[in-house]
């Protein structure tokens, strides 16, 4: 009830706020009929600074190519009826001699810029908000009168703030010291980089003279700069922390499967990256199926892809275990070479069946876009959801390991194979299933990766070194260690990246791990006591 009343008020106020009716200067307008584009732009600026329904009508007509001239008189054409542009009076049918006024790109840009300011008077809150954002982003001096009028009428606090910033951004160049001072004081809250440059300019000395003569304004500018920089650096830090967490979650997804196959079972699987690839291609396959069979539910193909990718990768993993890895238990170096061979074969299989190029996996609508924390710093939805997804996979895995019969058997077999066998645990089957589980989790990681990176035959290769680093750093046989290592590596990597560039960051991290292993060959979280050997 109260809310609708407020809306009503807004609408009424917005209607009232329309500037007073005043006919336009016909002399100025007539310049639009001439061929001089500079003059035309000047007229558009004049229109923008003299807000009135006539000005808006003329600008809208120019934008729609509906402005005509007949013997020096400007007409707005609606259907087959002509309206006088200066007074908005109906003139009857369009005369045959009317010529269209040509609007080139430069002029159109000016027209649209001017029109956007007129939206500040729209009755629709969202339109007004967007218009206010636009003028805040790109304030033009000729819009100042409009902004001030809108400011006087605006009731919405957010829009008001945006308009204040826009006004200040323009007034910072004013010749009036008091206006400048007021503007500078407000501008501490801006995120506009151009305005920041202007503030910084004020403090620069030229031939012993500050660009800004008044010391009071200079002090205020200094203050404003400080608060702008603080806010921007905070937002940047938050963003790089997030991208670190996001990279960490990707590493975690890649490494979780490895934590089972290498960490728990002690099988070194160089084809792990290719199991990620199998998961990603399964996603691609499911996407294609949805496109042809269930286009109306296309948004949900990613969810359908999860079990399929899990089963596909787990299947490949179990076949690998049965045919090759099983024969090599206890010979880690040979396992390494044989699984490398499997990875080559899987890569080539993908290349032969899907082509050597990357395939196109689209984000469903609920994974596109993101949350903007400040201007230009966006946290994308797909990364946020993958962060959550990796945690879900983690919970799923630790549940399987600690609460199910299979998990119990797995732990029994890895701790004491002979005793487990003696107690009736089918150790061979458990090995196969455990390897399948690790592979399936890699498949789930592949679904996630398909949403944020390229899907191609070589995609798995990039992850193998990283994911082994995670497992090695975290400590063998330690799921918790894997989690900390993945997130920690991701964050360290991203923080270094913003400081030194991507490649150097990666090298620094690798060197760090090599040095770290020197100190603690058992990883971050070493097993203690009897389980060591």
């Amino acid at each position: 009830m109260t809310r609708s009343a407020i809306y009503l008020c807004c609408i009424v106020l917005a209607l009232l706020s329309l500037p007073a009716r005043a006919a336009l200067d016909a002399g100025q307008l007539s310049k639009l009929a001439a061929d001089d584009n500079d003059a035309k732009v000047a007229v558009v600026k004049y229109l923008a600074s003299h807000p009135s329904p006539e000005a808006e009508a003329v600008l809208t007509a120019m934008d729609n190519d509906a402005l005509y001239q007949n013997q020096g008189r400007l007409l707005i054409v609606r259907g087959d009826q002509a309206i006088d542009a200066a007074t908005l009076q109906a003139l009857g049918p369009v005369p045959d001699s009317a010529e269209s006024i040509i609007v080139n790109n430069r002029l159109r840009g000016a027209v649209q810029g001017a029109l956007s300011a007129f939206k500040l008077f729209s009755s629709d809150l969202a339109t007004r908000l967007k218009a206010a954002r636009d003028v805040k982003q790109d304030p033009r001096p000729e819009q100042l009168p409009l902004i001030q009028q809108a400011l006087a009428k605006e009731t919405n606090a957010e829009i008001h703030q945006d308009l204040l910033l826009a006004q200040a951004s323009i007034q910072i160049s004013s010749s009036n010291e008091a206006e400048r001072l007021a503007a500078v004081k407000i501008l501490g809250a801006t995120n506009n980089p151009e305005v920041r440059t202007k503030l910084a300019d004020m403090l620069i000395q030229n031939n012993g003279q500050y660009n800004e003569a008044s010391p009071v304004v200079r002090a205020a500018a200094q203050q404003a700069l400080k608060s702008i920089d603080l806010r921007i650096s905070l937002a940047r830090a938050a963003a790089s922390l997030f991208s670190g967490l996001s990279l960490g979650s990707v590493l975690l997804l890649a490494a979780l499967g490895l934590a089972i196959t290498y960490g728990v079972m002690g099988v070194i699987n160089m084809a792990h990256g290719e199991l990620l690839m199998v998961g990603a291609y399964a996603t691609y396959f499911v996407q294609g199926w949805f496109k042809t069979h269930l286009p109306q539910h296309f948004d949900w193909y990613v969810l359908a892809a999860l079990p399929i990718a899990f089963l596909a990768a787990a299947g490949v993993g179990m076949v690998m275990e049965r045919l090759v890895i099983r024969r090599l238990y206890g010979r880690p170096l040979e396992t390494l070479l044989a699984t490398w061979g499997i990875s080559l074969i899987l890569i080539q299989l993908a290349r032969v069946s899907f082509g050597a190029q990357n395939v196109d996996v689209a984000n469903p609508s609920w994974l596109s876009g993101g949350i903007e924390i400040i201007q230009d710093v966006v946290l994308p939805w797909n990364r946020i959801i993958i962060l959550g997804f990796s945690m879900a996979v983690l919970v799923f895995m630790s549940f399987l390991l600690s609460r199910t019969r299979l998990g119990l058997f797995m732990r029994a077999v890895t701790q004491n194979r002979a005793m487990a066998g003696a107690l009736g645990v089918p150790t061979g089957t458990v090995d196969t299933l455990a390897f399948g589980l690790g592979a399936g989790i890699a498949g789930l990681g592949g679904v996630a990766l398909s949403q944020i990176s390229n899907v191609g035959p070589d995609m798995g290769q990039g992850y193998i070194v990283d994911s082994f680093m995670v497992v090695v750093l975290g400590g063998v046989g330690q799921i918790a260690g894997t989690v900390y290592a993945a997130l920690g590596l991701g964050i360290v990597n991203k923080l270094l990246e913003s400081w030194s560039g991507a490649v150097i960051a990666k090298i620094v991290v690798l060197v760090f791990i090599i040095l770290f292993i020197q100190k603690r060959p058992q990883g971050l979280f070493a097993l203690k006591g009897r389980s060591v050997d």
Partner: protein
């Protein structure tokens, strides 16, 4: 133990001698001294290919020394190979002089980067002897440092393999950067002359080819000397039971470190011989996939046999040259299957297969 492998039986010595004469004397004569249209003429393609494969054979031998005799499976030997190649490549780049595309005093890629003078690490590379020193020192020092830290903290087995892989991976990323000063993506290429001789002249090519063959032969003899020495015996003992050797009062670190560094130096020399013959060196030589391929050459031939890895390098690379041209889609299937089949069914490689066959025929151990 009477069943130690013999280095080598008389027939192997004889075969090696004949092969050496064939490769190092007959082939060069057939290339230089025979008319191009004669059916006996050996093309420069063949000379380059064989020269390249001999470089790989040196590399496989170096791998055998560490993997076969010390049990250290390195997945990063590509980095030593490439560093040797880059060290000699620097000399070759300086040899281009102002004959590059831009006629500048610095290599062309530096013109791209707008570098007017050479970075400090390029100083002195115009001297042949200094670049040879670099070929030995750079891979050697890197291996010494890396090995010292790795062996001191008793990192071994799969851990060590993974870390060597990370090492070559990091080096590859570093060399891919343009700012590192080694030509980035494209590396070094377009060489003109070595020691004043044109690098494309048949005589120069044959000289480098013969040098490669001699180095291979020398490396083989050096390897034989090492593994049959007392040092070699201790090394093999460390490979088989490191803890027991330590209880006997040996410190394995220096033993491993020596063979590790020597192997890296050999790889570097192989790289230095490789670059002038192939005419290019770029960071892809450091890719983990390349390094792990060296391991399969060694495994195919048979570890700890010295001669096996050479055989493996030759066979696998001959197959690669043939398959990548005739059946490009099947090469990776073949290579992948090779990795699996050799580890599953041929743990001692071709040499093991040969001696098993001979045992079957003669009915006893020979």
């Amino acid at each position: 133990m009477t069943t130690t492998y013999r280095y080598f039986s008389k027939s192997v010595w004889l075969a090696m001698g004949l092969l050496a004469i064939g490769l190092l004397v007959v082939l060069p004569i057939l290339h230089l001294g025979v008319d191009k249209h004669s059916s006996l003429y050996v093309s420069s393609y063949a000379i380059t290919l064989i020269g390249k494969i001999m470089c790989y054979a040196i590399l496989a031998l170096a791998m055998d020394l560490v993997w076969g005799y010390a049990g250290i499976l390195s997945l990063g030997h590509g980095v030593f190979f490439a560093l040797g190649g880059y060290a000699f490549g620097m000399y070759l780049m300086r040899g281009i002089g102002a004959d590059g595309v831009y006629h500048a005093n610095v290599p062309d890629f530096m013109v791209f980067l707008d570098w007017k003078t050479l970075p400090w690490f390029w100083h002195g590379t115009e001297h042949f002897a200094y670049s040879l020193l670099l070929v030995v020192l750079v891979p050697g020092l890197l291996a010494l440092m890396f090995g010292f830290f790795a062996f001191r903290s008793r990192i071994k087995g799969v851990y060590l393999s993974i870390i060597t892989q990370a090492l070559t991976f990091a080096a590859m990323l570093l060399f891919f950067r343009n700012e590192t000063g080694f030509g980035g993506n494209n590396g070094f290429t377009d060489f003109k002359r070595v020691l004043g001789y044109s690098i494309t002249a048949p005589e120069t090519r044959v000289a480098i080819y013969m040098l490669t063959g001699l180095v291979l032969l020398g490396a083989l003899l050096l390897g034989r000397y090492i593994v049959t020495s007392k040092y070699g015996r201790v090394l093999a003992a460390i490979r088989d039971a490191e803890s027991r050797v330590m209880f006997c009062g040996y410190n394995p670190v220096s033993y491993k470190l020596f063979i590790w560094t020597l192997s890296a130096v050999l790889s570097g020399i192989a790289g230095a011989l490789y670059v002038p013959q192939v005419g290019i060196i770029n960071p892809s030589e450091m890719s983990p996939a390349n390094s792990i391929e060296i391991a399969i050459w060694t495994a195919v031939g048979g570890r700890a046999t010295l001669i096996g890895p050479i055989l493996g390098a030759v066979l696998v690379n001959a197959a690669k040259s043939y398959l990548t041209v005739s059946f490009p889609d099947y090469w990776l299937f073949f290579l992948g299957a090779l990795f699996i089949v050799v580890t599953l069914y041929l743990p001692h490689g071709l040499m093991g297969l040969l001696s098993a066959l001979r045992r079957k025929i003669t009915g006893g151990w020979k």
